[in-house]
Amino acid sequence: MANIELIEKLSNAFGVSGYEHDVRDILKREVREYADKVEVDVLGNLIALKNIQKKGHMVALNAHMDEVGLIVDYIEDDGFLRFKKVGGIDDRVLPGKRVLIGKSKIPGVIGIKAIHLQSKEDEKKAVPSKNLYIDIGAKNREEAEKIVPLSTPVVFKTKFEKISRSVYIGKAFDDRLGCAIAAELLKKDYNFPLMVLFTTKEEIGLRGAAVGTYKYTPDISITIEGTISADLPEVKDHLKCTKIKKGPVITIKDSGVITDNDLREKLISVAKRKKIPYQFKQVIAGGTDSYRIQLSKRGVKVLTVAVPVRYIHSPVSLFNIEDYDNTLKLIGEFLKIL
């Protein structure tokens, strides 16, 4: 069963790409006593190893710690903060949102002119992010600079919350759900060498994973993700990609990889045998750390399994705990047959 407390902690944690330390600290504490060895590499990836002395194929479970966010790149004379996006964010979801800035989590709001003053043309189009700003209530540049130096990272201020019996909302479910599942799986016993890799900088080009499987190179890797669900009213059925409450999402192909055909068949047969619901990712879009890991050294057999999440890369995303539990269960059962 899901460790809601861990998911909540991870979802609320600060972790814009390149600034994953809060998330890393939580995960390090979580896995330390279950791993033989815990390392942080040059790019900030957290690597937990178990059973390294055992013979057999090494299996890697991996998930990325970072989330999309913003970074302050200019301060106006009147104290407003201009920013750039870190990772893919739809400009249209930015205005009117609360944010937290930097280590000391300074609160701010992404402002926009009141509707009374908008022209008919204004109302028709989204304001591009380069024209938006964060208001921290500073009276001028000097004051703002003291509180928020240039290059400070920014996250959405979103609190993890349960909104129905099995549905939760919060930020960064892509990929803190994967982090939680990987951490939970590390706690179990296996008779093969296991490596759990929590990567950095996924959202800005799978950067952490590009080096994360170089020192220790697995034979098999499972990337655990929170993935796009577009089961929304206006979306045509064949473009919904995945649906929530339909079980773990098994990727056959995304824009980066075709997952290993034989391993994937094994995974599906485990799901069928254990009566765990599953679905396929039905739009070939998005890429994951699997892309990098697959091409490490002599090549790695990769799988990607995900919890379907609505509204990823926005300030609030939504998932169903049954999908989470079934993803945890499916990967857990699969590891038993390796």
């Binding site: 070939i284 697959q294 090549g299």
Partner: protein, 331 residues
Amino acid sequence: MNENFLRNLVFAFGPSSKEKAVKKVITQELGKVSDRISEDKFGNLVVHIKGEGPKLMVAAHLDQIGVMVTDVDKNGFLRLGEVGRIRKSFLIGQKLIFENGVEGFVYYEDKKSPWEAKEPKMENLFVDIGAEDKGTARKLVDIGTQGVYKPSFYSFRSRVTAPALDDRIGCYILAELIKGINKKKLAYDFYGVFTVQEEIGVKGAKVSSYEITPDFGIAIDVTDAGDMPETSALSLSLGKGPAIKVMDRGMIASKSVKNNLIATAEKSKIPYQLEVITAGTTDAYAMQVTKSGVETGALSISTRYIHTPGETLDLNDVLNAVKLLKKFIEK
């Protein structure tokens, strides 16, 4: 010219990650002359012929572009995703064949433009496999089932038109090269690698060259011809010799390999062309940046209509490519 072998290569089903049938055709062909065929853990087919001298890796990719079923609707129509850079406007009106032999016809949502498809997008195309409902269709194909253009093979004198000549023609050249190797004359420690998953990101070549760590690399692939009516200005023509790559979108060929290929062609009086192109790339792109670097070049066959069902090339270029590579690897 071993036309039967080429025909078998073209008819073998083999989109990225499903190259098994192509490997079988090659293994059978090479089985007659070589017992040094192995498959690496990524699925590349490797033929190692030990020789005195530096390590040379010659690569050609097994896979072809294709499609993947992403959805089956209640009326039994399939929706598709692309495997490699398929050209949507050429997909409409084509027959596809799926990995289990099921065939289908590609059409488009024609509400907006009933006679001709305008700016076709993958999400607006569908396939009719003759199934009347979802249940029937799901018995024939599943989400993830891969398909390719239904193969055909037409030849007239030295010209050939067929889908998947990208890069079965490279496989043909590499296999013929291997068959003709005289170990006594071999100037290299030779690795012929038939690679997987080139069309979705030059993957097989990347991991294979890590494994082999060659000193020199050559990829054999197709490249765009520029000898059709009103096409973009490209100096490559069919029948004027294999093209020695100078540059493509992914790489500038290493001077040593390029110059050595040119010198070999000049010396042996084999016609050749020089290829400078800004579109596309090959396995050579991945090989060149392996570990501390590999001196890498490429030999291309000028081909018209690449990534359509009508890829067209000239077999004289193919014969000359085999001849050139043979001279290249000999002392």
